[in-house]
Amino acid sequence: MSVEEVVRESLRRRAELVQSLDRWADVRDAESLPPLSAPTRSRLAAVAVAIAVLIPAGLLAFAALRPSAGESPGGPTPGGGGHTQESRTDAPIEVTSPALNANVSSPVVIEGTADVFEGNVRIRIFDAINNMIVDTFTTATCGSGCRGEFSAEIEFAVAEEQQGEIVVFEESAETGKPRNVVRIPVILVPGENLERAMEFIGTWTDGEGNAYTEAELSASLGPEHCSWGDIVFLSIAEPRYGSGPVTFVRDTTNELADHTERAWESLPLLLGDLTSDGTHVGDWELWFDPSNPRTVYLRHGVTGETEVWPALTQQIGCD
């Protein structure tokens, strides 16, 4: 039996364990609610609180962000972690992927094994000029005295190919300082998401082919250092938005989930009662929903693919 057949059979068996779901009453009762159900809204509120708590902590921790001289200058340290190509099997953290000096694009899968406190493995990515463009963590399948596997799929954005470094380490439970640092020099390559995002950066024209001024309608990418480098911000100040410009975002990874009323979506076709005045950039046409001015639709004139971009609920920035 091939691995594909085993996978197919396993998925089928697991799916068939699911017999019923009878929460029609919940769905029916929710009909009068806004698009998000109550559980989802409360979850979003919890996330908003989480971010509010994290920001001050993040600022305080900034000085110690990058594990540096003294921790593991220039590579894996004796007694510290290591890349499998050059390390012993008892290193607390071993990274098996990506390989040293590999070309990586978003999302990059970082995998390895670790024996660290509670299995918590911190991961940071730095670009060519030492900006930290990712700061996250994953959990190994075992920890605190036993060795577990970890695997994290991490998104990042860079505008052009450049040298970078992935740093994987354990945060000391006592001091909070990095230890068992593993450094993997890599080449960061712009991902597909950014390539697609770039299709929206260009000259936007109206139905008659006249270019909009920047004040009327403009699209730009967010700053890379806050992981917004592949998010498109489309600012529209047409009469339909009377009081001032409204900014819509192409936020495919939900970085700005707390600043939008709905998520970015991709649809196979344009649905509903939408209108367009011919505004476009390249093959992408701008469509509006007259009943919902807080959303715009970008439709590809050739493939019909459509993206739903929500409006920002407030102006945002990052330092």
């Binding site: 396993s10 779901l21 029916r28 919890a46 971010i51 399948t141 939900n254 991709s266 649809l267």
Partner: protein
């Protein structure tokens, strides 16, 4: 609109829930996702026939699941910052019954989604790429990586 919703719910809820369980590995999370998908999709269901509804709901589920993954990452970051604790992963409990399913549940999210859409939903690379917002070549590489890992389960 209520009739359209009810019809879609009765015709598609089980299939959608099964797919959601394969994505998330956890029944309660899957139920929440499916519930949200129906609530969010209610205004659009009237325009679609049976097959289009299925495709539409599947896409809505993938979008909802991507959101869920995103929020879970943020929450995990928060939990680690304020109160490190053991996370009870429902997929661990299932693991005892099906080694292959356990290995699938451990795949990185996007690889798992590609595997589920390929081998459970039988979608083409192109269809999967549209759902996941990437190129077909990426789908192929994700599935290839995943199969390389899953191969270890069947290896004698």
């Amino acid at each position: 609109m209520a009739d359209d919703l009810r019809r879609a719910y009765e015709a598609h809820r089980l299939a959608l829930l099964r797919l959601a369980v394969l994505f998330t590995g956890a029944d309660p999370v899957a139920e929440d996702l499916v519930h949200d998908v129906f609530v969010r999709s209610r205004s659009r269901l009237g325009d679609l026939d049976h097959d289009e509804t299925r495709a539409y709901l599947r896409r809505a589920l993938v979008n909802a699941w991507r959101n869920e993954v995103r929020h879970r990452r943020v929450e995990r970051r928060h939990e680690a910052a304020v109160s490190p604790r053991e996370v009870d992963d429902p997929s661990d409990r299932i693991a005892a019954h099906d080694e292959m399913w356990a290995a699938i549940a451990r795949l990185p999210e996007r690889q798992r989604a590609a595997v589920v859409l390929r081998y459970y939903e039988d979608l083409s690379d192109r269809e999967i790429a549209r759902l996941l917002g990437c190129r077909p070549v990426t789908v192929r590489s994700q599935v290839k990586r995943a199969l390389a890992k899953l191969q270890e389960v069947v290896r004698p």
